[in-house]
Amino acid sequence: MSASIDQIAAARVQAADAEEQLAPYLAAAAAEPTIFSKVEAEDARAQARALDALAAKGQSAGPLHGVPLAHKDMYDRVGQVTGFGAKAGCGKLATATCTVLARLDAAGQVDIGRLRMSEFALGATGHNHHWGIPRNTIKPGAISGGSSSGAGAAVGAGLVRAALGSDTGGSIRLPAACNGVVGFKPTQGRAPVTGVMPLSFSQDTIGPLAATVAEARLVLSIIAGPDQIDPACRDVAPMRQRAKPLPAGLRVGFASGELLAPASARMTAAIEAVRSLLQAGGHATCDLDLDLLATLGEAANAIAMSEAAAVHADRLAAAPETYGDQLRTRLAQAVAIPGFAYVRARQIQRLARKDMFEKVFGTADLFIIPTLFDVPPTEADMNLGGAPGAAAMIGQLAHYTRPISVLGFPALSLPVAQTPEGPLSIQIVGPDWSEDLIADLGEWLETALASTFSSAG
């Protein structure tokens, strides 16, 4: 199952055999209960049959024709139960299909099932009080990362080429980094969240985890754009589906201050190797003071927890026993955050965006920082439940992702090195609506790194 989305789609259109080719994907998914919460075999076969009928007439549904995908268990599909990673019996029977799944359907995907996630998408490690943790597909014993834990593991294991996750503080980028795959968190407001489980109204984003940057870009470009229902989704120029050469004069910034202090030596070495690659490719790099990012964690946390508590208040009051320990404890933090502190956190958010546009994006078009501070940590070290230290541990894990979320900027997590202890990944970050340029740089680096590895090997 190593063919790309483009190769799979071309073959399915030519052979009109999407249903026949589906069987190994369904079997492999069914064999991975820590990754898939539900394999939707009958619905998938029905989708594949409809696509085969189209292909038999010489037609293609679109760029995903017959491509098996699977998504985090928080996207509504009519007639299916959305599980949210919650306790058994706490899901919702969807009465409509969410906008982004409908768009992927129209482009020809075959949706083979629902992927594990942290409970209600709150959790950075991938642990789920009710359902355990998906296996790390690249480093046994390491965390899968969260909250799109199953999405990271499914792509990492090669069960699907791409999967939708969601990202409020790092939930696409962290599991992507833990499993050595690509994760693309878009600008807040790039894709509509209609029919998608909410967590934090002002920070939620939805986007893909994928095997390559090109595939992540393709999927994101398909789901992006307003649907006239989600008022927060902005009507901006659509994304390109394919890469362009990097523009002459591209300026890429690198952190030069204390922001990198928590990063391991091998992470900073990997980032320096990326800088050298860019310079060797004739691209300009510069040092940036990005220390502001390190000060935004608590504001991001206060906003996310306050908004999440608003989402969960009724249910938490009616049935607190249905929540896992860590989630209940984290939601309880919201009570200690008074209204004026939430307002000040939103002020910090606005001022920090202004500061970044003035001081960072005036100097650089994009910048590069780590995704995690090092390789993914172990399941055992991170399995704290609701115990003391859990919130601080999550804050440390999301040290480089949370600030980007609160700023609303797009970011691509890209694996850049593989060590015996696990993968190392960077984030390419840009200003609002810079997804095309970010993906162009991502694809350029992917190619440059591949040729480096092959010449080294």
Partner: protein, 57 residues
């Protein structure tokens, strides 16, 4: 709302879980209320000390 407040305030939590809240709350409030960017914001101006004998509000 009393029940909700009780739960969110931690009374439905275990003693260990309850013990975490003050530290976490203090860290969050400090991180927000003492953030350096707010000191530069015209929307939160420095309060001017006045002479209480002036009888001003």
């Amino acid at each position: 709302m009393e029940k909700l407040t009780d739960i969110l305030a931690g009374r439905a939590l275990t003693p260990t879980e309850e013990a975490i809240l003050p530290d976490q709350a203090a860290r969050t409030m400090k991180g927000i209320m003492e953030h350096p960017l707010l000191r530069q914001d015209v929307e939160i101006p420095d309060l001017v000390a006045v002479d209480p004998s002036e009888d001003r509000i």
